[in-house]
């Protein structure tokens, strides 16, 4: 049996599935239920400095992008950090950690960008016996208007400065949570590393407006007639998160920095993708908010089964395994030729491949043969773009076949080369090496 337990920047956890800092980890009641269900760890919902707690709206805090069957595609929220007293949270964290010593309890913190604020809160957090702290530099709504959250996370210098303060005032591992609302995710990650961060976690939520109510012509969700942008998460953001995780994992300046992957993870397959692109653990929120805490059992089962089937003995053995496949466009082999193939036995004759190709791509799929409805690839037109594969409703019906070296590409009339040729070497590139 593969081992699912992990050591993430010194934080041990029986499995790589943590609940992200969010409503599900707001208080002891929820976290206890999460641990009972089997979550390996939690990041406690963000604490603020002592004093009057923040106030949340008591109207809609969440909005969702739903498919026709009402399965959830994307989710957004305008909830702020914890609205409970600091003392209450600290007491509950202490009690929970004492009862669940084998689970990871990380505490998310967000205080103003002043050294004394961090100096004041960190020892108190450390006193709870928790395993680490996460710096909330990601929250894009509400708190950012007050100079915190993503307002810090968008300025690499601030990230480095605050991270360094934290390393000064606590001996706990410091995880820096990054906002995706930046142009290049590598800059904040490098800043975190320069400040001494033990790890980064990403992505936090994406600035978003969920929609406009067609009847009232107000943005939605709205609170008493007005709304504000919220943080977008859920399955729709996963590809964005995967890219950002991979960028940090393969950046020479941050290589080796532990990454906690976040963003639309709802199944073991999603987790696998993050881990294979370099994440050492994953954090989940939206899926738990849709299905409840029990889903972790399905994730654990799926990941364990997969690792066993692959002959991988641990999560660590999977980590980063897909990274070598990620590169820049200029290194892609321009000599590789693929052609779409339609399996006529599986084809249900819907014609979506034809019309997609005919209207928007390369006119490479027939609509008829001998006067009858028939969809077949015209290899002399096909560039292997994969559009037909993606629009076909039948799994496995259309596939891309890679031409073997020496085979004639009927589109160009040329034989397929057996050697690789990327843009850096391509004769059409005036800046090619050796040109």
């Amino acid at each position: 049996m593969a081992r699912l337990d992990i050591d993430f920047c010194g934080i041990r956890s029986p499995n790589p599935f943590w609940l992200a800092s969010a409503p599900p980890t707001d208080k002891a009641y929820n976290v206890e239920r999460a641990f009972e269900a089997g979550w390996g760890g939690v990041v406690w919902k963000t604490l603020a400095e002592a004093g009057p707690p923040v106030v949340n709206v008591s109207g809609p805090r969440y909005g969702a992008l739903l498919a026709v069957d009402r399965s959830l595609i994307g989710f957004n929220n305008i909830e702020l950090i914890t609205d409970r007293e600091l003392e209450t949270n600290l007491a509950e964290i202490t009690a929970v950690k004492r009862r669940w010593p084998g689970r990871a309890v990380v505490v998310s913190v967000m205080v103003p960008c002043k050294e004394e604020s961090w100096q004041a809160i960190l020892p108190r957090v450390e006193d709870t016996g928790c395993d680490g702290i996460e710096l909330n530099f990601g929250c894009p709504h509400g708190m950012s208007e007050r100079g915190m959250g993503s307002a810090v996370g968008q300025v690499p210098e601030y990230i480095q400065m605050v991270t360094a303060w934290c390393k000064r005032y606590t001996r706990l591992p410091v995880i820096v949570k990054l906002t995706p609302n930046v142009t290049d995710i590598r800059s904040p990650a490098r800043a975190a590393k320069a400040g001494g961060a033990d790890a980064v976690s990403l992505i936090n939520t994406v600035n978003s407006i969920m929609g406009v109510d067609p009847d009232t012509l107000r943005m939605s969700p709205d609170v008493g007639g007005k709304g504000t942008h919220g943080g977008y998460c859920g399955p729709a953001v996963r590809p964005i998160a995967l890219h950002m995780v991979a960028e940090i994992a393969r950046d020479p300046e941050t290589a080796g920095l532990p990454i906690s992957g976040i963003g639309g993870i709802g199944s073991w397959r999603d987790a696998l993708e993050f881990i294979a692109l370099g994440a050492g653990c994953v954090q989940v929120c939206t899926a738990a908010m849709v299905y409840g805490f029990k889903i972790v059992q399905e994730m654990v089962s799926g990941l364990a089964t997969y690792l066993d089937a692959k002959g991988l003995e641990s999560v660590e053995a999977l980590r980063g395994r897909a990274l070598p496949s990620v590169t820049e466009w200029r290194y892609l082999d321009l000599n590789r030729i693929s052609k779409a193939v339609i399996n006529q036995d599986l084809c249900i004759q819907c014609g979506r491949c034809h019309i997609a190709c005919e209207d928007t791509a390369h006119q490479a799929i027939t609509a008829q043969r001998d006067g009858r409805r028939h969809f077949e690839v015209k290899e002399e037109e096909c560039v292997g773009c994969n559009l037909c594969v993606n629009v076909c409703p039948v799994p496995g019906c259309i596939t891309l076949r890679e031409l073997a070296p020496g085979e004639i590409d009927r589109r160009t009339g040329q034989a397929v080369s057996g050697t690789a040729l990327d843009w850096t070497q391509h004769p059409n590139n005036p800046l090619r090496s050796g040109a």
Binding site: I348, Q349, C350, H354, R373
Partner: protein
């Protein structure tokens, strides 16, 4: 000695409260949530086979996508633009042999998109809305057309011509318009008075005057209409039914299935309708199924449909046959009626000869079967009353009016469509298509004539 036979035919066989449920929609309307989910199954096929399979070429992918996008009104608009009787077609079309038969989801999932039910959802939503009229009538053309028969063909033709600004006089022999939708289709298919709501919606376009209780009974009538109107359309259906032509046909309890269904459709309370304890239906088409199922729903104890050929030869679709079987109606095949047996002037049984196919020919096997019956429903097909039409001078083919591809008859400026013309399949949706194609041709003719004096 056995008891003397007393035919057991009477109304009110069931507790009064059961009838409403029995004759309500046999296919429940989709809820909005169901419609959205079902609509999401449509793949929006290229050159969609379902559209090709529809005689009125309803753009099925378009209307279904509009439903999925929350635009039921736009969906109804798309449907009714192609087929103004989209509401009744959604109810009584044999979709299982038309659009839904060719749905590609059959191949993939063994289950087509429920096109008929989605169509009903969209049209019903429009009809129930505050502004159900989506079409406006063009400026009056001053041209007048007589439409004979206010069934699906005539209504479609009248509506299309009225839209173009022509004035239509719509004649029908029955007290109400609607044709088979009102008088001939099983009550549970077009429940809740939909046929009349649809007629009202169609007539609300304006420019159509309905003359009910008017029957084409002489060539002189047609001549008068041809003189008075710029064009004439005949959508008179099949007014007569075939007879069994066997002894005992005149016995009490031997009833024409079309009349039986018509009476049921017009009954305010089905419980007042007499039905036999044991019913034998003779025939193999939709009428036989509708009559058999409705007999059962009225409380008949044992209902048997007897058909002279095999299941594969029945004009009723497989789906319809299954409907009958699941409602507790038995179907027996290869039985030709020989005699209706009676006692005291009433039918008590039907004697059948068993048959088999010898090559293409049906031959008796020599065996016989007697089915006891209090009521015998004849559903062996309808036919055109050709006498008046022949007298009018119409060329006939296979006992029906011969037309060209536009529905033009052998008589100048007279078109025809629906069940009364040759070469059709006797479907509502086909009748609508006939009415519309004739309307297009008539409109072209009237425009052509109108432009001539201006030259």
């Amino acid at each position: 000695m056995s008891e003397p036979h007393r035919a057991d035919i009477r109304p009110g066989r069931l507790p009064p409260q059961t009838y409403a449920a029995h004759f309500a929609d046999h296919v429940a309307p989709l809820t909005e949530a169901q419609a959205l989910l079902e609509a999401s199954r449509c793949l929006y096929c290229f050159d969609a086979p379902c559209m090709q399979a529809c005689p009125t070429r309803i753009d099925v992918p378009s209307f279904i996508r509009r439903i999925a996008e929350g635009n039921a009104r736009g969906a109804a608009e798309s449907i009714l633009e192609s087929n103004p009787l989209g509401g009744s077609c959604a109810r009584d079309c044999p979709t299982e042999v038309l659009c839904e038969q060719v749905c590609v989801r059959n191949t993939q999932q063994g289950q087509p998109v429920a096109i008929g039910r989605l169509q009903r959802f969209a049209v019903d939503a429009l009809m129930a809305s505050a502004e159900p009229q989506i079409f406006t009538r063009a400026a009056a053309s001053g041209r007048r057309v007589a439409v004979l028969g206010a069934g699906p063909a005539g209504l479609a033709c009248a509506h299309a011509l009225a839209r173009e600004g022509h004035e239509v006089a719509l004649f029908d022999a029955k007290p109400k318009a609607g044709g088979l939708n009102e008088y001939g289709v099983a009550a549970y298919k077009v429940a809740g008075g939909f046929a009349q709501r649809e007629v009202a919606w169609l007539l609300a376009i304006g420019g159509i005057t309905l003359h009910s209780g008017w029957r084409l009974a002489s060539a002189a009538q047609l001549e008068a209409l041809r003189r008075e109107y710029d064009a004439v359309f005949l959508g008179v259906g099949l007014a007569s039914t075939h007879q069994l032509g066997v002894p005992g046909e005149a016995l009490e309890g031997v009833v024409d299935a079309v009349e039986f269904i018509g009476a049921l459709r017009q009954a305010a309370d089905p419980g007042t309708l007499p039905v036999g304890r044991r019913v034998v239906v003779i025939g193999g088409g939709m009428t036989a199924i509708d009559a058999g199922v409705q007999s059962k729903l009225l409380g008949a104890e044992a209902v048997t449909i007897a058909y002279r050929r095999g299941p594969q030869h029945m004009r009723a679709s497989r789906h319809e046959q299954e409907l009958a079987l699941t409602r507790g109606v038995g179907i027996l095949h290869w039985l030709a009626p020989v005699e209706v047996l009676g006692e005291g002037g009433s039918a008590r049984a039907v004697r059948f000869a068993r048959q088999r196919l010898e090559g293409e020919r049906l031959v008796p096997t020599g065996e016989e079967l007697v089915l006891e019956a209090d009521m015998v429903l004849k559903a062996i097909g309808q036919r055109l009353d050709g006498r008046v039409l022949a007298e009018c001078g119409f060329a006939l083919r296979d006992g029906r009016i011969a037309t060209d591809a536009c529905g033009r008859t052998s008589i100048a400026n007279v078109w025809a469509g629906g069940d009364c013309i040759a070469g059709g399949q006797d479907l509502t949706v086909e009748a609508v298509a006939h009415g519309l194609r004739a309307a297009r041709a008539i409109d072209r003719l009237l425009r052509g004539e109108r432009s001539r004096p201006e030259q």
